[in-house]
Amino acid sequence: MSLMALREQLNGLVNSMFLEGLLDDQFEQLQMLQDESSPGFIAELITLFCGDSERILAELTKLLDQAVVDYQKVDAFVHQLKGSSSSVGAQHVKLACVQFRQFCEEHNKEGLKGIYFFRCLRALNVVKHEYYLLRGKFDTMLQLEQRIQAYESKQQI
């Protein structure tokens, strides 16, 4: 595939992610920060984000699996994930975390504990769904970037 075609594919992918709301204007800020002196910045941030997110999702799954759920710990982890998704512009993931935290806060309502637990469980599944959807597209994005950068460095020789 030609360099131009690769660039078009990458731009098309990123634009569609903005249009669908998977990414917000924080991601635009990241794009502006990436330049010739640091071509790997977005890849680095995305890699850190994915590593962090998967670690947190695993912890949350374990916590909600306990006989007695520690909602403070759950909330702390969701807060962390909300923070990092916000920093990379992962809008849908961030919003799913906001919703999840609301359910965490409400879990103590008298007589309705069971309902709130299931809402938390569902909220976790929504976060996972949004995260893995995003992750797939990030993977494609990074592969395209790598191919483009390989092409560009060959051209400079």
Partner: protein, 131 residues
């Protein structure tokens, strides 16, 4: 490695960024380095204080508020209570817009409070506050 240039002339401005999130550390470091600041990042208040005892020429500390073990507020207090460190300007960052929190930090001596996610325009307004 520290450089031991004697004057500020070509000496870089060295900023210490404190955040338990690896994503946020990478982001704040990139933003600061784009403005040509030298940056060291640490993941806790405890490590920040350790570094501050060894590294005298820190021009600014930028710290997250919510961190396990030691919050950014507690770090701010420790810095302001230390005769050696109190002149270093401290900026606090938080993902939550809580007026009480912001006021407490400003009252304790923070020179600014940034809402996350941090972006280059937030950081550029800090340059006049650097020591």
């Amino acid at each position: 490695m520290s450089s031991y240039a004697s004057g500020r002339g070509e000496q870089e401005i060295h900023v210490l960024a404190v955040d338990d999130s690896s994503v946020d550390r990478a982001l704040i470091a990139k933003i600061l380095r784009s403005s040509k600041y030298r940056v060291t990042t640490v993941d806790s208040g405890k490590r920040a204080l350790e570094l501050l005892t060894l590294e005298p020429n820190i021009s600014m500390i930028i710290t997250d508020y919510w961190m396990p073990e030691m919050t950014g507020y507690e770090l701010l207090k420790s810095v302001k209570e230390s005769s050696k460190l109190r002149e270093i300007p401290v900026v606090v960052m938080s993902s939550e817009n809580v007026p009480n929190r912001i006021n407490r930090c400003l009252e304790e001596g923070a020179v600014d409070f940034l809402l996350k996610p941090v972006r280059p325009s937030d950081v550029s307004r800090l340059c006049s506050r650097m020591r």
